[in-house]
Symmetry: C2
Subunit: 116 residues, 2 copies
DNA sequence: CTCCAATATGTGACCTAATCACATATATAG
DNA sequence: CTATATATGTGATTAGGTCACATATTGGAG
């Protein structure tokens, strides 16, 4: 590392908070990987560095394994099939917990910033 | 995962922001791994789940490789030797950048929380 | 004197999350 | 027929973190 452009301090290695974002999207209506990825590209946080779709698909897979979401194949006449995901009650509980955790995390960052 | 106690939503997998915390500590005076680890255990964020010392030592090693910090052995009459770390100018610049990044990250979380 | 605790540093193995590169398939527009 | 948008997926690598293990010094309790 010659300069700081690839340093963690640039935020490039900070987690994209993919899981809570996905849960949030699904709480506003069922969706699928490609659409979710596209939506993230429009959020300010992801605008300059939209997340690789790989992460979204793998997050969806593991979240389904954990029982937070469920999927069904949706075959419309146009385009390839979509794996349509929806929240489970457990996923809803997880989303609630995320809210608490993120509030706490924000307080942590505030404390840290105060000491910088 | 039967319940949500080991889910990412609990914040256990959120990054501990070790690097900026270490830089912050060092900006307030030279220190070494064991002392830094101990200090983290007293912070509210780490209180219930203090970071493993392994992460601290490895962060220090990689940050030294990257030129953010420098170390010298300090042999006092009492106890084992300490590897005493101090900030380099580059480390100071990194710390400044972290400040911007964390402000941005906080805004992201605010936006996300608003949609939860 | 011996053993234990506090201080202090380190390695190996493993896990999670993220990204890069690659691979595949359908339907429509030109 | 070919390019583009839509749509899903795997393999390899890296970063960061935890658990378990290993080692060394010093001072105090028994």
């Amino acid at each position: 590392m010659q300069d700081l452009t690839s340093c963690a301090c640039t935020g490039k290695t900070l987690p994209r908070l993919l899981r809570p974002v996905i849960l949030s999207v699904l709480s506003n209506g069922d969706s699928h990987g490609y659409a979710i990825t596209g939506r993230l590209g429009h959020l300010a946080f992801f605008a300059d560095q939209p997340p690789d779709h790989t992460g979204v698909y793998r997050a969806l897979q593991s979240m389904e394994k954990e029982g937070l979401i469920l999927s069904d194949w949706e075959h419309s006449r146009t385009g390839p099939g979509k794996r349509c995901y929806r929240l489970t009650p457990k996923g809803g509980a997880c989303l609630k917990k995320w809210k608490q955790t993120l509030e706490e995390y924000k307080r942590t960052i505030d404390t840290l910033l105060a000491s910088l």
